[in-house]
Amino acid sequence: MTGRADITLSVNGQSYTRRVDPRLLLSDFLRHELGLTGTHVGCEHGVCGACTILLDGRSARSCLMLAVQAHGAEVETIEGQGTVAALGPIQQAFREHHALQCGFCTPGFVMTILDMLRHHDLGDDAAIREALSGNICRCTGYEHIVNAVRALVRERGKPA
């Protein structure tokens, strides 16, 4: 194996410098090096979306990236979206609409929706479902997640 690499990146606004194996996955880096275990790994082949994070503002699969590729990047994870005592808006909508059951896929959905709300109209349910189609939830059947996003889209139009 080649030598270890020094990386510096921002995660949820905090800067980290670490020396890592070049082959270390970004998902494993977040979970096991930084202890940010809210990012979950569901398939390790980029299908399920549980590991979705924001990389420089756009959603990305942390299981399909190496930590070294995030050098210099701004990463956002579920831990940056709110706290147990003060949930963020997407988290709050998920709670109101019972859009989660076991909670394992949920962080990936929240991060995907964050990106989708910023960059897409999501004007009807078909568009919302399309936006969610890269994330697998095995518990909910998606209907409550769609309800949560629909409510978020309505809220988005209102002045803060």
Binding site: V41, R95, H98, C102, R129, E130, T140, Y142
Partner: protein, 799 residues
């Protein structure tokens, strides 16, 4: 006890309210704790070399190179484990059954691709996986029969030689004189129905972490299981450890659907290795391992015939069920769980006098089958509901009408089915009517007919079913299983600070039981929900427990919660009565405050608890009672849950893809604790049922290789393929369970495959096509349509 029931009803109740879940904030904030989130210092990571052979003798295993890799600590195969752990035996009292022992690693012979053979332990998972490649295994291939029909034939190569046969399960259910009925029946329909192999695909892969406490000589296993109590009990025997030095904890668990509801070899392995090496040992499956070694499901061929009279009344049913149970019988349910339930539930919710159902369970070199949401009933309902529709078509009768004539009616309950299952009163007829009303069935029929006249492939399907839920101690959840799963205990205590803690044997893994049980307890005790901490998923909480499965937890744990809360409340009120100097009967509690009805005096739970536990002399010594109770509930028989599903589909004549355009569920789950959670369970269950009907299939090729071992090959539903689901809750007559609850976690998956199959068959009925295999994929539809075109070259077969 204080208060008549009607007085209780005057208070605003939490049961029945759309209460937001207490689990959610931690799960939403990324603060949940799943097993893989736990990594204690010094933990070793296990990677497992699995068999790439369906059936082979292990001639030799070479680990020298693997051991030489820096970071590798140890390599174990079955020989190295001798004396460290005993096998688990999935016993059953069923006649003719042969139990296949479960060892952590293959001993001498491998019997399916994916079976664990060698464990590599290393300082990191990356290194452990590197080292797997360096392990050399020399196999001598053995003959095998990969299809159940071949494996059951005389002279087939034996998978377990000491069993003497591959057919380790054979059973018959019979009532009446079915052959005589068939001789004279005016109408007979039949088919060969196949529910292909599925797997649960919980989003969290299985993960286990064992830690050995040298000082106490005690083991703690954190496991992504939904049966921590059962795992504790079996491992205590395998490891020869008493229960007070063996604890199994299921922390947050990322779904199971039955896939995490059996003992796994990796659980045995990490436990044995942690004790031997005196270091924490962790295994986390990847998705390839999940799709090739987690328990799989269904995989039956059901050859069945139904006899009816000219008015469409059912006369008799006969069936031969062949279940492909895989290479081993699973613990504790055994390989009989799935196929035997297909035969026992086949008569469904219908009045049927004459039945004969024969079932065989056949060993094949595939992963073991085990529980998967619905167990048996998705297959049995699929076959029976298809037969009902085929009969309706033959008779020119509407599918709703034929069901209305044959569903058991209210005066007939309790109704003993032809296989011996007893249905207590449940809204069989009412659910059928409610589903059709909600969907405006006549309007749907007109819309279908108009679409059909325009050459479109549009169809409507109904499916009615009943299931046993909340099963008590009278019935084994799995056939002949010697383990009682019919009781549940709630240990409730009000502590010295006035806080309420309730410990259960269940293991919630997405069902929201921390919320629903707190609703029940808060109502009974008269406190606030946020005052109640529900503990579960930990074998150390109670003397005996099993877990959450078989739609049992709301019924059994809800009942136990009610009983214990009543005892604690009575103690609390006796203490308060003394402290407030009023009779206990004059007190009532709500919102965590105890008030005297006739005066302004009140005390909080906290004040009473402090007086009981910490106040010097405030309560006379002979009247002092700890504010605790541990009561057990046993519903004995359990209760029926029932529903009718209605699906409307359209098939694209270009792609042969099926779109579900309408979906309605009318179901009777008794008294609803939390409608939000019930709706979520129905929607999630239906999604899995639609997956089973249209997408999901584990495929093993003729060489025994699983060719669907990624989520790009094993397809599960995504948001774009799912319809909105209309849900009607029919609360006809409450069951006799404590609280009036029925179980409802599995129903969605039971009804949906049949409803979709009937809808697709209806859509293709102008071509004379019957659906007999699920999933009904575009490929299968294409082949059916092509075959129909060959049969009827002149007929117009599509848009």
């Amino acid at each position: 006890m204080t208060g008549a029931p009607d007085a209780v009803e005057l208070r605003p109740k939490l049961v029945g309210q759309r209460v937001r879940r207490t689990e959610d904030p931690r799960l939403l904030a990324g603060a949940g704790r799943y097993v893989d989130d736990l990594t204690p210092p010094g933990a070793l990571h296990v990677a497992i070399r699995r068999s790439d052979q369906p059936h082979a003798r292990i001639r030799g295993i070479g680990a020298t190179e693997a051991l030489a890799l820096p970071g590798v600590v140890a390599v174990f195969d079955a020989r190295d484990l001798e004396g460290m752990i005993r096998p688990a035996i999935p016993a059953s009292r069923m006649a003719g059954y042969h139990a296949t022992p479960i060892w952590p690693l293959a001993r001498g012979t491998v019997r399916y691709v994916g079976e664990p053979v060698v464990a590599v332990l290393a300082e990191s998972r990356y290194v452990a996986e590197d080292a797997l490649e360096l392990v050399a295994i020399d196999y001598e291939p053995l003959p095998f029969a990969i299809r159940a029909a071949d494996a059951a034939a005389d002279g087939a190569p034996l998978l377990h030689e000491d069993a003497g046969t591959n057919v380790i399960i054979a059973r018959e259910f019979a009532r009446g004189d079915v052959d005589a009925v068939f001789r004279d029946a005016p109408v007979i329909v039949g088919g060969r129905f196949r529910m292909t192999r599925k797997t649960a695909v919980a989003m969290e892969n299985r993960s286990y972490l064992a830690a050995w406490d040298r000082g106490r000589a005690a083991l703690t296993l954190h496991s992504s299981t939904n049966i921590p109590g059962i795992i504790r009990d079996v491992l205590a025997g395998c490891l020869e450890l008493p229960g007070n030095r063996l604890r199994v904890v299921a922390p947050d668990v990322g779904g199971s659907f039955g896939g995490k509801g059996s003992l796994y070899q990796e659980e045995m392995l990490v436990a044995a290795l942690a004790r031997r090496l005196e270091r924490p040992v962790k295994f986390t499956s990847d998705r390839l391992e999940d799709l090739s070694a987690t328990s799989q499901a269904f995989d039956e061929v059901i050859e069945a015939e139904l006899a009816l009279d000219a008015e469409g009344m059912l006369l008799g049913l006969r069936a031969e069920v062949t279940g492909d149970i895989g290479a081993y019988s699973i613990y504790p349910w055994t390989g009989a769980l799935e196929p035997v339930q297909v035969a026992s539930f086949l008569p469904g919710p219908y009045r049927l006098a004459h039945y004969r159902g024969r079932v065989r369970g056949v060993l094949t070199p595939k992963p073991p089958t085990g529980p998967y949401r619905g167990v048996g009933r998705p297959s049995s309902t699929f076959a029976m509901e298809r037969l009902i529709d085929m009969a309706a078509r033959k008779l020119g009768m509407d599918p709703m009408e034929i069901r209305r004539r044959n569903l058991v009616t209210a005066p007939e309950f309790p109704y003993r089915t032809a296989s011996g299952i007893v249905w207590d009163r449940s809204a069989f007829q009412e659910c059928l009517a409610a589903a059709c009303d909600h969907a405006d069935y006549p309007a749907l029929l007109r819309a279908r007919d108009a679409a059909r006249a325009a050459g479109r492939w549009v169809g409507i399907g109904l499916a009615s079913y009943a299931e046993l839920t909340g099963i008590g101690s009278r019935i084994s959840v799995a056939p002949g299983m010697p383990i009682n799963t019919g009781t549940e205990t709630a240990a409730i205590r009000i502590d010295a600070t006035g806080a309420v803690t309730a410990a259960f044997g269940i293991a919630s893994h997405g069902q929201g039981l921390e919320t629903t049980l707190a609703q029940v307890i808060a109502d009974e005790l008269g406190c606030r929900m946020e005052d109640v901490e529900v503990q579960h998923g930990d074998s150390a909480l109670l003397p005996a427990s099993s877990g959450t499965y078989a739609s049992r937890s709301a019924v059994l744990a809800g009942g136990a919660a009610t009983l214990s809360a009543r005892v604690v409340k009575a103690k609390l009120l006796r203490a308060a009565a003394h402290l407030m100097d009023v009779p206990a009967e004059a007190l009532e509690a709500s919102g965590g405050i105890i008030r005297a009805r006739s005066s302004n005096t009140s005390m909080s739970f906290q004040e009473v608890a402090q007086a009981v536990y910490a106040g010097m002399g405030r309560i006379p010594r002979e009247q002092r009672e700890e504010l605790t109770a541990s009561e057990t509930y046993d519903p004995y028989l359990g209760t029926a849950g029932s529903a009718t599903h209605l699906a409307m589909v359209e098939i694209d004549p270009g792609t042969y893809g099926v779109t579900v355009t309408r979906y309605v569920v009318a179901e009777d789950c008794g008294r609803i604790i939390n409608p939000l959670i019930v709706d979520g369970q129905v929607q999630g269950g239906v999604a899995q049922g639609i997956g089973a009907a249209l997408l999901e299939e584990v495929v093993h090729d003729d060489d025994g290789q699983c060719v669907t071992a990624s989520l790009a090959d094993y397809l599960v539903p995504i948001a774009t393929g799912m319809p909105e689901i209309g849900i009607v809750h029919v609360e006809a007559v409450l069951p006799a369970t404590l609280g009036g609850f029925r179980g409802m976690g599995e129903g969605g998956t039971i009804g949906a495959p049949a409803a979709i199959a009937n809808a697709v068959a209806d859509a293709l009925s102008p071509l004379g096509i019957e659906v007999d295999t699920l999933p009904v994929t575009p490929d299968r539809i294409f082949r059916m349509v092509e075959a129909a075109r060959l049969r009827n070259p002149g007929q117009r077969t599509g848009a």
